[in-house]
């Protein structure tokens, strides 16, 4: 009867296939339905994509490992909703390649930090966290303010994002570098194009407090200020559930 398993042992290749089969089924069964999940992810017609400046900020967030201490995922628990805001919906991270849900809160959740503090607060906090929160254990990111943002290849970044499914238009890709400058310089002639391409709601400000050359601080603050504000779906969902109660 066990000639079969005997063969498994004698010939390593079938044994290897057995391992792949046994281990593989679990992964396939669990993950396959997620690829059709488009059908279950909520609709959010107002969802917009990251501007090139915000995307650059997101990449700085990734580079500095912010995700190691800050989550971006508010769970469906009462205390989390009261502390951080409406719980996170799947649709809110549908353009996040990769997602930054995080796994640890050494610092607070940031899923809805956008608009919670002023730009100046963020700049001061990133430059010297303990100047605004004396007990903080966050590192100081002093170099962001005096590092120029690399902008000339951001078009390529948007194009790569488009290849993985984010709906960036040709115009957005072509104007990426100009839009970065425009978003951080509201008085420049390039500012109007940002609102035109990404919507009137887009923050167009000198995020680091100084117009002119775009710094990494501009980018990171622009990103932090958009967190949780790409769509109103979560707030609408909360209002809806409130009505039902």
């Amino acid at each position: 009867m066990f000639g079969f398993h005997y063969k498994l042992e004698r010939h390593t290749i079938p044994f290897v296939l057995a391992i792949i089969f046994v281990a593989g089924i679990g992964g396939i069964v669990e993950i396959a339905p997620l690829f059709t999940i488009g059908e279950t992810v909520e609709e959010a017609p107002d969802m917009r994509v990251y501007t090139p400046l915000e995307l650059a900020g997101r990449n700085i967030y990734i580079r500095e490992g912010c995700y190691a201490c800050h989550s971006q995922m508010i769970r469906t628990l009462r205390d989390e909703v009261e502390r951080y805001g409406p719980y996170s919906l799947a649709v809110e991270s549908q353009y996040d390649h990769p997602m930054l849900w995080g796994s640890k809160r050494t610092g607070p959740d940031l899923a809805r930090v956008g608009g919670k503090y002023s730009d100046a607060w963020h700049v001061a906090h990133l430059d010297d966290p303990r100047s605004v929160v004396p007990q903080s254990v966050m590192p100081a990111y002093t170099w962001l303010d005096d590092t120029q943002l690399v902008t000339e290849d951001l078009g390529q970044h948007l194009a790569a994002m488009r290849r993985v499914g984010v709906p960036y238009t040709d115009k957005m890709i072509a104007n990426a570098a100009a839009d970065v400058y425009g978003q951080a310089n509201p008085d420049s002639d390039r500012a109007s194009g940002v609102a035109e391409r990404y919507g009137e709601e887009t923050n167009v400000r000198a995020f680091d407090g100084e117009p002119g050359p775009v710094t990494e601080m501009d980018a990171l603050v622009a990103y932090l200020q958009i967190l949780g504000r790409l769509t109103d779906a979560a707030h609408e969902q909360q209002a809806l559930e409130g009505d039902l109660r």
């Binding site: 004698r10 089924i25 490992g65 995700y67 502390r83 799947a90 549908q94 930054l100 640890k104 990111y141």
Partner: protein
């Protein structure tokens, strides 16, 4: 190293190194003035350096046919030394970031020294640097012994070992300069990932080729675990790292998945990295070195088979317990929770099997710190798998997730199980490999054991405390129904535990350093007074009782 290679292998090694150096030069050119350029130069430099190393030994006489009558252990020896170097480096970084959480000013305003960049240096360094090299080194040793067969050639084990370390170096140096995918435990970027696939396929093929040379039809169970480790890690690595690079000149890439799919893929990977890297591989070590050291066969071979298939099967489903109460569909969370609880059965079967093997040899456990390392590893394996199943239960997870409890759980497994079984196996295998009767100093093994145990206990208890306090503070309400504590209140409450954790980690690090010294001295004395090579002769020769026994 080069002297052990045949002429053909030396030539092939030069070809590989030249191709590698050319790839490096290409990346250096394409990524000029970007982080990728730095890595390109690094690859090119290492490739050229390897060419010179091989060339310098090129004219040495070829190894004789005599070599085929003994096992090929040089890569295992190198792997163990490299693993210990990674251990010291990465545990030092780990302790440093632990102190940073207590005293955040210790970054001297340098980008590379901030917590977010150092943390993956620690995790990659210990998991892949220390753990991975130990797995590769011991797997070479175990597969040859259990198959009674020499590895089919001399070049591929070196390619696997050195290539793997190139991957680790690219990974770790990348974090310092800001190159990361941000996927936890899969941070290296696309070019390092592709390189690892090449190395890993070679490793897998080498393993199969060695297995094919065996005489006995049955494959010893330790090899099953090592094989599952190699195979499944390959699958996980490839799927989770699918990404589109910005260009061939950019280190940066964008994950093929987004949002909830990316989260599921990432934690399917993350949890199974724990399962097949940090569990299956090290169980392979356990199932070989524990019986060997205790000089008793494993308590129940049947149980080891049942737990093998149990672990291989159940773990794959469990990843979603990392995403309870998130935007992940509810049924996937439930599935992950259920399978995580069921996982306790094969896990405890393995832990029990290990402990029952020692039953009747407790006097040896008492006298031999090496065996005690393995015993404590089995105990911690039992504890942390129980804790894992417990934390996967959704309501428990609502308290523990995002807190230090998770960190405590991980370290109960990583220090108590993975590092303990590794140190135990290394202490068992070093005298065998270098043909010594015993380690340089049994007393230092003893010191290492107690430092490691004390460090682990301090660490884990500190994190259990801080995690539970944190979780409770976040959900405590005042009588009027508002949240009682601000986030910063909970952070301030953590300070004493963060200091305690850093002290525990320091003890563990000191223990590892002592271990390295002990191994180094064992190797050195081996070189000074080589023992008569009574072992490593074919079975046909008339020295049946000549094998060196670890009789410390």
């Amino acid at each position: 190293m080069v002297a052990g290679l045949t002429k053909g292998e030396r030539q092939f090694a030069i070809v590989i190194s030249v191709v590698l150096a050319l790839c490096g030069l290409f990346l250096a050119g394409a990524g000029h003035q970007r982080p990728l350029g730095v890595h390109g130069l690094l690859i090119a430099f290492l490739g050229i350096a390897t060419v010179f190393v091989v060339l310098s030994g090129y004219i040495a006489p070829e190894p004789s046919e005599e070599r085929l009558s003994s096992y090929y252990d040089d890569p295992s020896k190198a792997g163990i030394i490299i693993a210990m170097i990674w251990a010291i480096f990465a545990m030092f970084i780990g302790d440093w970031v632990a102190w940073l959480l207590a005293y955040p000013e210790m970054t001297f305003d340098a980008a590379w020294a901030s917590f977010g960049r150092l943390r993956p240096v620690h995790t990659t360094g210990v998991i892949f640097g220390f753990g991975g090299n130990a797995l590769i080194a011991t797997s070479f040793h175990v597969m040859q012994r259990t198959c009674r067969a020499r590895m089919p050639d001399q070049l591929s084990p070196w390619f696997v070992l050195l290539g793997y370390n190139l991957f680790c170096i690219l990974a770790v140096s990348g974090y310092f300069i800001g190159v990361t995918q941000s996927k936890e435990y899969a941070e290296p970027e696309w070019y390092a990932d592709i390189w690892l696939v090449i190395v890993w396929v070679t490793y897998f093929v080498l393993y199969l080729r060695t297995l094919a040379r065996r005489q006995e039809p049955h494959i010893y169970v330790a090899n099953w675990y090592y094989l599952a480790f190699i195979l499944v890690v390959a699958v996980l690595h490839i799927v989770n790292n699918l990404a589109v690079p910005v260009s061939l000149g950019h280190a940066k890439s964008y994950s093929a998945f987004s949002g909830v799919q990316d989260a599921m893929t990432q934690w399917w990977y993350g949890h199974n990295a724990v399962a097949f890297f940090l569990t299956a591989g090290f169980l392979g070590m356990l199932y070989y070195y524990l019986p060997k050291r205790a000089e008793r066969p494993i308590f129940s071979y049947r149980l080891s088979i049942i737990s093998f298939w149990g672990i291989t099967f159940l773990y794959m489903w469990a990843g979603s317990h990392h995403l309870h109460y998130t935007a992940l569909p509810h049924w996937v969370q439930t599935l992950g929770m259920t399978f995580s609880v069921m996982l306790l059965v094969p896990s405890w079967a393995s832990a029990g099997n290990a402990l029952l093997t020692l039953n009747g040899a407790w006097h040896r456990v008492r006298d031999d710190a090496t065996l005690r390392f393995m015993m404590v590893a089995a105990v911690f394996y039992g504890i942390s798998t129980f804790e894992g199943s417990f934390l996967a239960i959704r309501p428990v997870n609502s308290l523990s997730h995002y807190t230090d409890w998770t960190v405590g759980h991980v370290h109960a497994g990583a220090l108590g199980w993975v590092a303990f079984i590794t140190f135990g196996s290394i202490y068992a295998v070093v005298p065998i490999l270098w043909k010594r009767e015993r380690m340089y100093s049994a007393r230092l093994v003893e010191v290492h054991f107690w430092l490691a145990l004390a460090g682990t206990l301090i660490y884990v208890f500190a994190m259990w405390n801080s995690g539970i306090i944190q979780g409770l503070m976040w959900r405590t309400y005042t009588e009027s129904g508002t949240l009682a504590y601000s986030f910063i209140d909970s952070l301030v409450a953590m300070h004493p535990y963060y200091v305690a954790r850093a002290i525990g980690g320091l003890l563990f690090l000191i223990g590892a350093a002592i271990g390295f010294y002990n191994i180094w001295m064992t190797v050195r004395t081996a070189r000074e007074e080589p023992l008569e090579p009574v072992a490593d002769r074919p079975i046909a020769s008339d020295t049946p009782a000549g094998a060196v026994q670890p009789g410390e």
